[in-house]
């Protein structure tokens, strides 16, 4: 709704274009809609505030004065601060005795230190303080702001008179004379006015007459002053007769009348014309405690100003105003909703010169809200009073994010058109559909009715930072200290690829492990999909004849390896059961022994365990007496949250004087390349060894400190990036001889130890234990058949890559229910015609997944590449399936990614139009609920 031209012009001219000094504290606030008053909206404009007052508004960015500070609220809306025409902050309680107390002031009850956060939470910036509610003449009200430095608007505003039944039985007045004398005895308590409406009217008239004729008691003096200065007369009524009395009194005393109706009166009776200001209590039904009635009188009088009824909280002002739209006689307009609780309320309270609108000259009290004005669940995001931010929605009150667009592709089934929403909380999708719940405090991001939302994309093959190495330990480099934070991940994520299956580009014949990495993750714990692997095999260079054998032998090895592990697991379980039982028994024995000994008064014996250690070490101590603290073979395990699997490390250290020679090896390294010899320093005094390895990222410093016999604490640090701490134990002691003697050290019985991990067979084991999916690259039909047959026998889900969509291939794939991971060149040429193999596969019902095989950030161009493929015949839905749900299902990731349904990771891509159209661009990408900002 645009403003009318005169207003616009007035606003623009109100902008001070004078000296640069005057603009020093000028701030411009920008929002999608700035409601200056109900009916006057500045769309996509800037509100100019200086020194706590509004000075103007502009529509064009060019019209902004130079050097002005801009605060941008994005897609939120700004409304003037809400004004509560009544609040129970004051005026309650058992107060004094006087029924007629015009000298009472609500200002005396004003508490500047009171916590008004609950009012600010609802956008209320100005509040009326009521004097005594339960007395005929309560006193003078006050108007204050809820926060800020200039809080008092009016110390005495109106004179409040109550003609409701609660005022009709005041307590008797009893002030005994002190001391009582015969001339001035103690008299019984005098009853006070009034018991009924006519009585009240009479009492008021009498009191007014007395006051105006010069009575000197405090009430009369204050009453006379109020009448003479024509203060507003605020009368609260709950009956039609009360309305009449109120108007008569106001006319007699010639005071402006503010009528407050506190009950649902029958609105068919017309209001007298004299009533110029009307405050209506709007019933907000929160529970079933009140009788219900239906029909037109569900909303009685339409007042100028609304306050929530007594059953609701006084801070639900916005809700009361929205509820007042229920009445069929009410025009449903944004203007009324807003005006009732802003500009009109200000006028009724007499503070219209300062608050109520955002026109130039008014105080800069405004509220920033999420969601459209009449949205059913919009919420206050921030409150400004006098241009200063006084309240901001705290973290613990944030309800999540609601994403809105014209069309929603959930990944399953047909898209939802005509407007759809997704609710994200804590990085997960809570709901997706045409309408989702809007929790209080949720941020609403509306991309427009042309936008489309799809799940984040899955790249089925990515080699970033791993390169061609088939070395699984190279994954250390991938997910090691610095790569995680590389901006390339963000580039990929900004292109929509929120999940990338990463691994070495050369598959092994025993299976190279790939990890599904979440590219937009910030915390290490979110960095990859846990406990699931995609294992890639490459039989591309094998002889035709040997292929079957090779496949079978590798499967056999894998099975044996896996069996070792299953066996170990069973043994371990059995041992643990026995052990717990044994330890329980021994402990019970010990306790009984101890008890007996204590009863006999003897000291408790040394721990049995210690005894055992002593025995064991005796054997070795003899050797250690002359033994060097350092020489020997040390073993340790490096574990770090950044590394997917713990890495065992073996070091053979030998020192000669101050130099140490260390041979480091790890069973996880590929054979033939698994030993590294380093030279470092040995400090006998502090018993530390130091190695320094120069790398391209800086020096890696390894420092080990021997803090106990056969125990070393190692600290590996890469300057500026991070450090890893782990421990090493010496397994063999050596003298000068360099020949390692593998001696089994008698250890405390710790149960059956884990079998040694063979990284080359780990992938197989994952597959055989059902924790993974295999992808095999083949080049010929017979290869494909062999692989599929053998893997199917072991019940391993397998998909193929490297085949063209011929009839035989399709038939084979269908028979084994396998899918295809297509090569990155989506568009191929056959018989001089461009075609997309993926489309052909899909035509025949073979699921496909798309991989980028990128070494750097190429995956980030996935949407553009797919757009070209779509142009050449790959359907939009097919394309979407092969990068979202279809791919996730194929690769076994559908429990976490790939679709926009409840419980999935909140990976959403917002497109400006139909996804994968050449003219569409990506507007936003959300990974785990957080928006990805392209580096």
């Amino acid at each position: 709704m645009k403003m009318s031209f005169p207003f616009l012009a007035a606003l623009l001219f109100a902008v001070p274009m004078t000296s640069a000094q005057a603009q020093e504290d000028l701030v411009a606030f920008h929002a999608k809609e700035i409601h200056l008053y109900g009916g006057g909206v500045l769309e996509n404009g800037w509100l100019l505030v200086q020194d706590g007052k509004v000075v103007g508004g502009v529509e064009d960015e060019e019209a902004l004065p130079p050097f002005v500070e801009v605060v941008d609220f994005g897609e939120k809306i700004v409304i003037p601060g809400l004004i509560a025409a009544d609040a129970p902050l004051t005026g309650a309680g058992n107060q004094g005795d006087h029924a007629l107390g015009a000298h009472r002031r609500a200002w005396d009850d004003y508490s500047p230190f009171q916590d008004l956060n609950k009012a600010l939470e609802r956008g209320i910036t100005t509040v009326y303080l009521s004097p005594d509610r339960n007395r005929l003449v309560g006193g003078r009200g006050a108007v204050v702001k809820t926060a800020g430095s200039r809080r008092v608007l009016r110390k005495t505003s109106d004179l409040r008179v109550s003609l409701v039944s609660s005022a009709f039985s005041p307590p008797t007045f009893f002030r005994p004379p002190v001391p009582p004398t015969s001339e001035n005895p103690i008299r019984p308590a005098t009853p006070q006015a009034a018991d009924s409406l006519p009585g009240a009217a009479m009492a008021l008239r009498e009191s007014a007459q007395l006051a105006l004729s010069g009575a000197t008691d405090p009430h009369s003096m204050a009453f006379a002053e109020a009448i003479r200065t024509k203060a507003s007369l605020r009368i609260v009524v709950d009956s039609v007769a009360g309305i009449r009395v109120a108007t008569d009194l106001a006319k007699e005393w010639d005071m402006p009348l503010i009528l407050e109706i506190s009950k649902d009166l029958d609105s068919t009776l017309p209001l007298p014309a004299a009533v110029t200001s009307l405050i209506v209590q709007t019933p907000l039904r929160m529970s079933f405690g009140h009788p219900s009635f239906r029909g037109d009188d569900s909303m009685p009088y339409l007042g100028d100003v609304v306050v929530p009824g007594s059953a609701a909280r006084w801070t639900w002002l916005w809700e009361a105003s929205l509820a007042s739209l229920r009445s069929p006689r009410n025009e449903k307009s944004e203007a009324t909703v807003l005006n009732r609780i802003t500009s009109r309320a200000a006028r009724v309270l007499g503070v219209q010169d300062s608050v109520g609108t955002l026109l130039p000259g008014q105080d800069a009290d405004f509220v920033v809200m999420d969601g459209a004005l009449l949205d059913s669940a919009n919420s206050v995001h921030r409150v400004f009073i006098d241009g200063q931010s006084v309240w901001q929605r705290p973290e613990r009150m944030k309800g999540g994010t609601v994403l809105r667009a014209g069309t929603l592709w959930t990944g399953l089934g047909a898209p939802i058109t005509g407007g759809a929403e997704v609710l994200i909380q804590n990085g997960k999708i809570v709901a997706a559909g045409k309408v989702v719940p809007h929790p209080a405090g949720a941020e609403v991001r509306d991309a427009g009715s042309d936008a489309h939302m799809t799940p984040g994309f899955v790249d089925a093959g990515n080699h970033y930072k791993v390169g061609s190495s088939a070395d699984p330990s190279a994954l250390l480099g991938l997910l090691g200290v610095n790569a995680r934070f590389h901006t390339a991940w963000r580039t990929m994520a900004a292109g929509g690829v929120t999940t990338a299956v990463v691994g070495p580009s050369r598959g092994l014949d025993t299976g190279a492990q790939y990890f599904a990495v979440k590219t937009g993750a910030v915390l290490p714990k979110d960095a990859w999909v846990k406990d699931h692997h995609v294992v890639r095999f490459d039989y591309g260079r094998t002889n035709r004849a040997d292929l079957a054998e090779k496949v079978q032998s590798s499967l056999k090895r894998g099975k044996k390896y896996a069996e070792k592990w299953t066996q170990w697991r069973d043994e371990r379980a059995k041992w643990e059961k026995e052990n717990t039982q044994k330890t329980l028994d021994t402990r019970r024995q010990e306790e009984n022994g101890l008890r007996k000994r204590l009863a006999q008064g003897a000291a408790p014996e040394k721990n049995v365990d210690e005894k055992e250690d002593v025995v064991e070490e005796d054997v070795e101590e003899k050797e250690e007496k002359d033994t060097d603290p350092l020489n020997g073979v040390w073993e340790g395990v490096i574990e770090h949250e950044m590394i997917p699997e713990p890495v065992p490390l073996t070091a053979r250290l030998y020192h000669d004087g101050n130099t140490v020679i260390g041979v480091f090896s790890s069973p996880m390294a590929p054979p033939g390349d698994n030993e590294a010899e380093l030279e470092g320093e040995w400090d006998a005094a502090s018993k530390t060894i130091t190695f320094s390895i120069p790398t391209e990222m800086g020096d890696v410093v390894i420092r080990g400190e021997i803090d106990g016999p056969d125990h070393m604490a190692v600290h590996v640090e890469l300057e500026g990036i991070g450090a890893v701490d782990f421990e090493m134990n010496r397994t063999e002691i050596e003298e000068a001889s360099a020949a390692p003697v593998r001696k089994k050290r008698k250890k405390k019985d710790d149960g059956p130890a884990e079998p040694e991990k063979d990284p080359r067979l780990e992938g197989m084991r994952a597959l055989l234990e059902g924790r993974g999916v295999a992808v095999v690259r083949v080049s010929r039909m017979d290869e494909a058949r062999t692989v599929l047959q053998n893997f199917a026998r072991e019940k391993i889900p397998v998909h193929l890559e490297g085949l063209a969509p011929t009839k035989e291939v399709i038939a084979l794939l269908k028979a084994f229910q396998a899918g295809v991971v297509v090569d990155p060149d989506l568009i191929q040429r056959k018989e001089n015609v461009d075609y997309v193999p993926a489309a052909v596969f899909h035509q025949y019902g073979i699921p496909t997944a798309i991989q980028s095989q990128s070494r750097e950030t190429q995956a980030g161009s996935l949407p553009e590449v797919l757009a070209m493929a779509v142009r050449h015949g790959l359907g939009v839905e097919v394309a979407l399936q092969s990068v979202t749900y279809g791919a996730a299902t194929m690769l076994g990731l559908s429990h976490q990614v790939g679709s926009l349904t409840s419980g999935m990771d909140a990976d959403v891509v917002v497109h400006s139009g139909t996804p994968f159209a050449l003219s569409t661009r990506i507007l936003h990408v959300f990974a785990q609920g957080e928006e990805v900002v392209a580096p």
Partner: protein, 458 residues
């Protein structure tokens, strides 16, 4: 037989005479004694270890080190391991009164002298705790409570106990129980406006009477009433000094003003110290405004509770002293983060530069001793000097008696406490309490305590 009786009777009579003479020799003059002790804490800037204090006729005449000369006729008592210090001062309490408040909300005519009970256990307990001066004043359940006075906790009559009768008036801004603050302020304003009305009426009456008398004199009829009528109230005019002038104002005398309202006139004239009960920060806000409007801010002492720490800058602005009653911590939940926030209020006051004093919490064990309250402040980081001053010299300053109590100076009252350790040590015991040169308490003869420690002797 009778001769024997006679003999017994005479020996009987001798005995008390002997006793009397003995006691007579032990203190040649009433209220004179000298103490030489291990440490003397004067609260006047100096500490003597060892130290000597000489009291003659109820006043301190000399303080010094071990070599101070003592007049020959003053008995010297030596306690080489003890500490001597002026004794704690309870700034503002309604203990020892018959009841804390009356029902009448506006009662400027009340005075605590009518309801202090000298034999109340309260005073006995205070002696045991080492408190040597108490500011007794009506409680907070009032609008104008009445006058208070500073007493020592020893004496058989109220007059003997009184140290100063001009402590001041109690005015409560924090509402009476069941009232709201607007009713409280309205009541206060009503009382003042009623007073103004009554004064103007009375002045009119006097003028009228004066005119009548003048006429009568003219008609040669002598008037018979004399100016002096023998009662204690002043009959000369000019009693009312506050507010705007009105006809006959300068003719009003103390006698003309109704008894009930005299106290209020004294308050508004600025003759009374005002102890303003402002428990919360909001009350400080309104109380300060009220006092400023009447021009009485210079006579105010704010009596606050811990929640008033939020108004520390308002208190600083007013420049008036503050006395903290009740708990010294304020606990509340931050409404935004929902975390519990604990504020130690004396630290806030100290950092704001306020002169404050501490009160004891009689309902709790530990804080019922002023020494404990001061020690808690030190634990929370306040300097020892500040914490000790808050329970000794600051209260004395608030009462306007800094030269008389609170510190050991030459010509101050010979009032002090002998303890077997540092006054702020929780394990120190009060050995003796001397008030104006006479022993008021001795731990060895404290029958109740001895019975508790040693069991009943009979």
């Amino acid at each position: 037989m009778s001769a024997q009786h006679q003999k017994m009777r005479s020996s009987f009579l001798l005995f008390p005479v002997l006793l009397l003479s003995l006691t007579g020799f032990s203190s040649a003059q009433e209220g004179s004694v000298a103490f030489r002790v291990g440490t003397v804490i004067t609260m006047d800037g100096s500490t003597h270890s060892p130290g000597t204090v000489v009291v003659e006729q109820g006043r301190i005449t000399a303080i010094g080190g071990a070599d101070l000369e003592i007049p020959f006729d003053v008995l010297l008592k030596e306690y080489p391991d003890a500490t001597l210090f002026p004794g704690f001062a309870e700034t503002h309490t309604s203990g020892g009164l018959d009841r804390a408040n009356e029902n009448v909300p506006v009662a400027p005519f009340l005075d605590v002298k009518d309801s202090i009970d000298p034999v109340s256990y309260f005073f006995e307990d205070e002696l045991r705790l080492g408190t040597t001066a108490l500011g007794i004043i009506p409680g907070a359940n009032c609008v104008i409570g009445g006058r208070g006075r500073v007493v020592a906790p020893a004496g058989m009559t109220m007059e003997a106990m009184t140290l100063d009768d001009s402590m001041g008036m109690k005015i409560a801004i924090g509402p009476k129980s069941g009232w709201s603050r607007s009713a409280q302020m309205a009541e206060l304003r009503e009382a003042v406006s009623k007073l103004n009305r009554d004064l103007r009426t009375k002045a009119q009456d006097i003028l009228h009477q004066g005119a009548v008398k003048a006429d009568a004199l003219k008609a040669d009829e002598a008037g018979e009433d004399s100016e002096e009528d023998g009662d204690m109230w002043d009959s000369s005019g000019g009693y009312v000094r506050f507010g705007e002038d009105f006809p006959g104002k300068d003719l009003l005398s103390e006698e003309d003003v109704d008894e009930i309202q005299r106290g209020l006139v004294d308050i508004l004239n600025g003759d009374e110290r005002l102890w303003l009960w402002c428990p919360t920060a909001t009350d400080v806000f309104h109380g300060k405004t009220w006092a400023e409007d009447l021009g009485l801010l210079d006579h105010i002492i704010f009596v606050v509770t811990a929640s008033a720490w939020k108004a520390a800058d308002l208190l600083m602005e007013s420049g008036r002293p503050v006395t903290l009653t009740g708990s010294m911590w304020h606990v509340e939940r931050d409404p935004v983060t929902w975390e519990e926030v604990r504020t130690f209020v004396p630290t806030v006051f100290h950092e704001a530069g306020l002169a404050f004093s501490l009160g004891s919490e009689k309902s709790r064990m530990g804080p019922h001793r002023l020494g404990y309250q001061a020690a808690t402040c030190i634990r929370e980081g306040l300097p020892r000097a500040v914490a000790l001053a808050a329970v000794t010299t600051n209260p004395a300053a608030m009462w306007g008696m800094e030269d008389q109590v609170g510190a050991l100076k030459v010509n101050a009252d010979g009032t002090f406490v002998l303890m077997d350790g540092d006054p702020l040590d929780i394990q120190s015991k009060v050995l003796q309490v001397w008030i104006r040169g006479s022993k008021a308490y001795d731990r060895n003869t404290d029958e109740r305590l001895q019975r508790l420690l040693k069991g009943q002797s009979r």
